[in-house]
Point group: C2
Chain length 202, copies 2
């Protein structure tokens, strides 16, 4: 195929806590090893099984606030008393090199990215139903009833932002959800505006 490599695609994935986003992302990255998954920075402590640099970059509040002051973040938000944010520099380097970059961020952060990068591709993942979401949150065995009730309430709030997302994927079966996201990324790469370099004499 002719033409130079175009800029990478920025993909923003959001969805309520418990929807199974990390599992879908694992499956996706397994199929599309060329995608760079941007690991967020956070001031919250690691949960059991979470590793620094894999699930999050775990940093102190001082370091995070220095990143804010240095304008080093594409977006950041506070959630349940902790900071969560995305490094701008690393993402920009990857996109410029033609690499697709995947961000897993909540709706507040996504709204900020939308302002700065309107060409990014915004995907929201939902469970088949709230009942199923509740079942999944209970199944994790990590939270008490009140925390789960809070997460479900939060999910309902997040749902109001769905119309701002380009695509909606239902995580009923993980393989199906991942396949739909892969199709979305293929389609985005086929957008005329991303491919005009392949057209002769225009």
């Amino acid at each position: 195929m002719r033409g130079k490599k175009t800029r990478g695609q920025l993909i923003v994935l959001s969805g309520p806590s418990g929807v199974g986003k990390s599992t879908v992302i694992s499956e996706l990255l397994h199929e599309r090893e060329d995608i760079y998954f941007s690991v967020s920075f956070t001031t919250r402590g690691p949960r059991v099984g979470e590793a620094d640099g894999v699930n999050y970059n775990f940093v102190t509040r001082e370091i995070f606030e220095a990143m804010i002051a240095g304008d080093e973040l594409l977006e950041y938000a506070q959630y349940v008393g902790n900071y969560y944010g995305t490094s701008l520099k690393l993402i920009e380097e990857k996109l410029a090199a033609g690499v697709d970059v995947l961000l897993d961020i909540e709706v507040q952060g996504a709204a900020k990215v939308r302002q700065k990068c309107p060409d990014a591709c915004f995907i929201f993942i939902i469970p088949p139903s709230f009942e199923e979401l509740s079942r999944r949150l209970h199944g994790r065995n990590t939270d008490g009833e009140d925390v789960i009730a809070g997460r479900l309430e939060k999910a309902r709030e997040e749902y109001r932002q769905i119309p701002n997302y380009d695509y909606l994927v239902v995580n009923d079966k993980v393989s199906q959800a991942a396949a739909e996201i892969i199709a979305i990324l293929t389609a985005e790469s086929c957008r005329t505006k991303n491919r005009m370099n392949l057209v002769e004499g225009v």
Copy 2:
């Protein structure tokens, strides 16, 4: 999955003569048997190997002009002295029943469909290069040098309409081109606006 069946997607495919569109469409329909391929009406005579109702619905000029008068066409155009057009009624029935409908039409017709159906998905297929298009046109052994030169000239004109298409697919390998179109259709079905019926409480 919850929710009622949404309206089908209208897909418009254009591309220069000789690009291999019919082969790509065959492959696509083989993979996605649920898609309804809208067979155009034409007043031109069948070429060797073309069957009525399969490649085109071959009709007389009188019948075609009666369809125009009866407002029965979604679009029609004249090309090298013959009429080509698309029946509105059949397409509307299929879309209403939730069936995806594929149209293979040239750029004039596509522009008319864009006015009437801005939500349709417009895909343009190009060859890897004009040199390759010329090679394919010669390979068909159906046209003389002057006709081929005319088709190449026509292709260059059609290329100016590419920016009006949502997606651009390069038919280098047929299987790859068909796979990209299938991904585009999957992505279109995942568009938030087509899936809001799956969201509870919104």
